[in-house]
């Protein structure tokens, strides 16, 4: 069983510098053809300072930094038994290429269902930019399937 002591645990903050080429790569990987996501002139014409960060991109900050892997290792969940159950983003301010984004997360709940056959870990995150402006809040539910 995942110890309830993890509730309140704070992950090491993850700092991600958003660069254009990574956003262009992301757009290509998901088949995004709207030029707003790949062409700086189109993004600026649409009112963005630079290429906008697409809706789910900031989830990657803790993948890049290794914080997500460390959390899974700390919790003792084998990767083969780990599922991503739910994901939420609440958007507060646009993020663009050129921003430096910091994601701070903590574990806000640990619970189980089906007599412990399924365990759930809830991670709540804030993403802020280099000026301290809140960009987005995220909530992730990880599922440990025994």
């Amino acid at each position: 069983m995942i110890d309830k002591k993890w509730i309140g645990h704070e992950l090491t903050p993850s700092v991600m510098t958003i660069d254009r080429s990574r956003l262009q790569f992301f757009a290509r990987a998901i088949g995004e053809t709207d030029p707003v996501y790949t062409d700086v002139a189109a993004a600026q014409a649409a009112g963005y300072a630079d290429l906008p960060v697409p809706p789910t991109f900031l989830f990657g900050a803790e993948l890049d930094s290794g914080a997500s892997d460390r959390l899974v290792a700390d919790l003792g969940i084998p990767f083969a038994n780990l599922l991503h159950g739910e994901q939420r983003f609440t958007y507060r301010h646009p993020a663009c290429a050129g921003d430096t984004v910091t994601v701070r997360s903590r574990i806000t709940d640990v619970y189980d269902k089906k007599g412990g056959a399924l365990e759930f870990v809830v991670k709540s995150s804030n993403a802020t930019n280099q000026s301290g402006v809140l960009l987005a809040e995220m909530k992730t539910v990880l599922v440990y399937r025994h």
Binding site: A29, V36, A46, P55, G60, F79, L83, E86, T90
Partner: protein, 139 residues
């Protein structure tokens, strides 16, 4: 891109669906690199087999990224207020996902006129892979 007008959008309206190509290994590799998800279970059949699985399978966040594309294809991203999904099933190689959305509510939220969109992502066999909802401001 034009913003749909609040008064022309009605509860029950379906958004134009987004049909994706069948998931292949190249897509998984590209998305792994682009998204930062380097978990070999999605990239390397040997790693998948060591984990007791027959083959690699799609990253959950790939499906969510496609749903994001679906939403921002309907309304500019700056209008998106909330985006919430539950992953219901594994997306296997060869699955061709289709993103659907339906307007289920119109309401005022923090002084903005918003719509709530129910989201559903299913494969060619009608198996639901992701469900969720989004809140989009139309004012």
């Amino acid at each position: 891109m034009n913003l749909p007008a609040f008064n022309t959008v009605h509860v029950g309206d379906e958004l134009p669906p987004l049909q994706l190509s069948p998931v292949d290994r190249t897509t998984l590799a590209l998305f792994g690199g682009a998204s930062g998800d380097h978990n070999a279970i999605h990239l390397d059949i040997d790693a998948a087999r060591r984990a007791g699985l027959p083959d690699v399978f799609a990253q959950g966040m790939l499906g969510m990224a496609w749903l994001g594309r679906f939403l921002t294809g309907w309304a500019p991203q700056r209008q998106l207020r909330q985006f919430d999904v539950r992953f219901q099933g594994i997306t296997h190689l060869g699955n061709a996902l289709r993103c659907n959305g339906r307007v289920v509510d119109k309401f005022d939220h923090d002084g903005e006129q918003c719509v709530r969109i129910e989201l559903r992502c299913e494969n060619q066999f009608g198996q639901i892979k992701i469900v969720g909802e989004a809140i989009v401001a139309l004012s």
